[in-house]
Each structure stands twice: as C-alpha cells, then as structure tokens.
C-alpha cells in the first residue's frame, strides 16, 4: 500500500462520483454538460499562456545545451550537426525529432548491480516505447474526436479514422461487442500504454520511490477518460448523433442538452474537463515546456561566438599600479620593492 497512489485513486473515484451522482440523482446536466466544460477550456487556454509567459521571463544568459555528439570544430573532424547543432536549422531538426520521437528518452539508461557485484549501465527501451505509444495514441484519439466538433468533417479526420480502424476483430458476446462499430486501435493502445506507465510506477521499487501523487493522478485520470470512452463505444452504446448535436452546440456557443444521453458520457466529459483544468498547473505542462528547454533549443556555437552575460555591470576595480601610485612614497620609506621608482613617475 502506498499513500501516494491510493490518494490519487481515491481522488479519481470522487471525481467519478461527482458527475455520476450529479447527473443521475440531481439532473445537473447543464452544470456538467455546459458550464464546467466551457470554464475548463477557458482555464486551460489562459493558464497555458500564462505559464509559458512566466517561463519566457526567465533569462537564459548562457548557452546550456546538452550535447550528444561532436561539436563543429576543425574541418577534418567530423561533427554531428543535429546532436550538436551549430546552426539554427540543426536546432530546428533536433527539436522536431525530440518532440516527435523523444530522442532524449530513447537514450534512457538503467543503472544496476550485476549478479557478480559489478555495477553496470544498460539500455532501457521500454519506457521510451510506452511513452511513444501513449503520446501518439493520445494525439490520434484527439484528432479523431474532431468528428464531434466539425461539420463538414475535414478530410484528414476521415483519413485518420480509416487507417485507425483498419484492424477489425469481429466477435461479440452479449456484454461487450467488438466488430461493429469497427475498433479504433488508438483508443485501445492509449489505455494499454497508460496502464503500462502506471504499472511501472507502482511495481518498480526505484520508480515508485521517486513517484508522487502528482505523477499518479494524471495517469489515473487519463485511464478514466479512456475507460469511459471505450465503454461508450463498445459496451453501453450512446446516441452519437445526439452527442454531436450537443458538442456542435458547445463549440458554437449555443449549447443544448441532449436527451437520453447516459451518465457515462457526463463522466467522460467531466474527466476531460478536470484534465483541462489540471493541465496548466501540473507537470503536464511539459507539452509547452519542451519548446522552452534551453538544453534542447539553443545552438552549440560557444566556440565560434562570444556570449557575454547580459547582467554584467561595471565592476569597481583597484589595480596594483593604482595601489602603488597611492602608496609609493610610503612603500619606499618602508623599504618595500616598487615597480616604478619615484624618479620615473615624476617625469
């Protein structure tokens, strides 16, 4: 038992009960369907912008990129223009690869004690794979969701749906139907990857040691979103057309509450709202932060260019020559050696 994840789990459970009880017992559909989502989106956008603005106010007086390759120097030494970029273009390529492929995480190493007592590093690939699957599945799911928010539905959304659902396993039982509608792989991969990332934090002692409630909470929340979404699609089906009429109303600021849409939808929507509100105040801001990382987004041209600290102010100095000028006669009287004799100065 670990207080940190039990606390997060409990929080998610309460966050599940709020819309569930609110909608089923008190009929608070307008609150959970309209007010909370619109407020959440506003908080998300304003909070995100303010957080980035705050970061941009921290000066970066020195170049502090981390490098993973040979810097450009003499012509006959091969340099790596992306891992140690000296040009803006190199930095742009490096950033794109970092954002899309998580190359820093790819270099992740594990430090462990071998059976013969020797300490060694080994390459740890699974975190990278899990993270990549998770983030891409999340993105695909969100882009696919645009079918609820756009009319006519843009071509890229339809194309994405087509590729995402190419994989069809057509079987069913009475409770859980797979087959029609077709399976969206991204939804399943999202859930599986989130569960893997959670299991990693709970089961590996070293990772558990560095995990806080703030690490478990977003994972539980996203698992909650994925489970409620998957429930709606494959188990307790919902009226998609009714929901789309509602979401279209939401984004045209003319919302109407759909009839006959069950509590699962409100739970899904509320979890998403909580995610939006939580986002700007949490570690999830790494989404914007990655673009602001000085270890990634600066050129390593410190050998070619001089960078001076912009805060350098004129320092008051008193050199030895000035000191000698001040005390020359006294020094000579005391028999101390001087650089310039009295006669030389007098001239």
């Amino acid at each position: 038992m670990n207080g940190k994840y039990m606390f997060s789990l409990l929080a998610i459970f309460v966050l599940f009960l709020l819309p569930y009880v609110g909608v089923t017992a008190f009929g608070l559909k307008t609150l959970f369907g309209i007010f909370i989502p619109l407020i959440a989106l506003t908080i998300f956008i304003i909070g995100f912008v303010r957080r980035i603005k705050g970061w941009s106010e921290s000066p970066v007086p020195f170049r502090i990129p981390t490098t993973c390759g040979q810097q450009k120097s003499l012509t006959w030494i091969e340099s790596s223009p992306i891992d140690n970029p000296t040009t803006k273009a190199g930095v742009v390529v490096r950033m794109i690869l970092e954002v899309m492929l998580f190359r820093s995480l790819f270099r992740n190493l594990k430090f462990k004690r071998e059976s013969n007592g020797i300490l060694s590093y080994s390459w740890e690939l699974w975190l990278w794979l899990g993270a990549l699957a998770f983030h891409w599945a999340f993105l695909v799911t969100i882009v696919r969701h645009l079918r609820f928010f756009a009319e006519p539905i843009p071509y890229f959304v339809r194309a994405l749906e087509f590729f995402d659902s190419f994989f069809r396993v057509e079987f069913f039982t009475d409770a859980f139907q797979v087959g029609l509608p077709g399976i969206y792989m991204s939804g399943i991969v999202l859930l599986a990857a989130a569960i893997y990332l959670l299991a990693r934090r709970i089961l590996l002692a070293q990772v558990r040691y560095v995990s806080l409630a703030a690490d478990y909470f977003p994972l539980f929340l996203i698992i909650g979103i994925a489970v409620s979404g998957i429930m709606m699609r494959y188990a307790s089906k919902v009226d998609i057309v009714g929901i789309k009429a509602f979401t279209m109303g939401l984004v045209t600021l003319n919302p109407t509450i759909p009839e006959g849409v069950g509590a699962t939808f409100y739970v899904h929507l509320f979890f998403v709202s909580v995610l939006l509100i939580y986002f700007p105040f949490s570690k999830l801001m790494h989404m914007g932060g990655i673009f602001m990382s000085p270890t990634r987004n600066l050129t390593t041209d410190t050998r070619a260019k001089h960078y001076s600290n912009p805060w350098n102010y004129p320092v008051k100095t008193h050199t030895y020559e000035e000191y000698e000028d001040d005390y020359r006669e006294k020094m000579i009287d005391a028999g101390l050696p001087v650089d310039k004799e009295l006669a030389e100065v007098k001239e």
Binding site: V49, I52, K53, S56, L146, P181, K237, G249
Partner: protein, 135 residues
Amino acid sequence: MPDQKQMYDKGKVVAGLVIFVVLITFPFWYNHLKAAPAPQLELTKKAQAAKNCVRSKDYMKAEHMQLLDVWRESVVRNGERVYVNEEGKEFNMSLTNTCLDCHSNKAEFCDRCHNYASVNPYCWDCHIDNPKEKK
C-alpha cells in the same frame, strides 16, 4: 539585473502561443460559430405505415450496428434467419431485404446520419443498397 520582468525571445514565444491558441480553438473558428443542423431523417411511406422499427427508437439509434452484427452472426454462422423482437414480431434477418425494405431511401436515411457522424460502413461493397431499383 533587469528591474522589470520582460519576455525574452518575445517574437518567437508569442508566435508559438498564437499557433497553440489557433490549434486549440479549431472547432470554434472552423464552424464559424454556426452549428450545421443535425440531419433530418426521412421515413419512407412503408416505414411510416409500420410505425415501429425492429426495436425501440432509442435502441436503434445507439445500437443498430450491434443488431446488424448479431444478425449477420446468426445467419452466416448459425443459419438462423428469423429474429423475434420484444413484442414477438418476427423479422427476416437481412440487411437488404429487411432494413432497406422499410428504409429504402438509404441516401436520405442511413447515409445522412452516417455522414454527420463520420462513419462509412463497408457493407455495401457486397450487399445491394437499392433493392427497389433492380435492373
């Protein structure tokens, strides 16, 4: 030290934030704040005369694809072709001969709804979709 807070690389940061806000608000500007109305479904004379679908309207709205999946399974795998609904009414489990018998206006019924919800059933690769217009 600068006395007042200032944004460094302001041009780049603001440009990035503008891109972010434009992407996030996509649904708002894409629809010009005007919701395209939900599709108007037309029932054929035959359907109107029948009054009821195979199951209740709410069930059909949310679960008709599941019903079709069950029908297909029963016919193709189990060889059973008769479906009895809750009221005890019997239906021949057939996509073309039953669904499209009442809803023979596929374009104004099934398709309108599917376009709105962005679904593109592949059934019509094989199944005839206009039984009334046989050559």
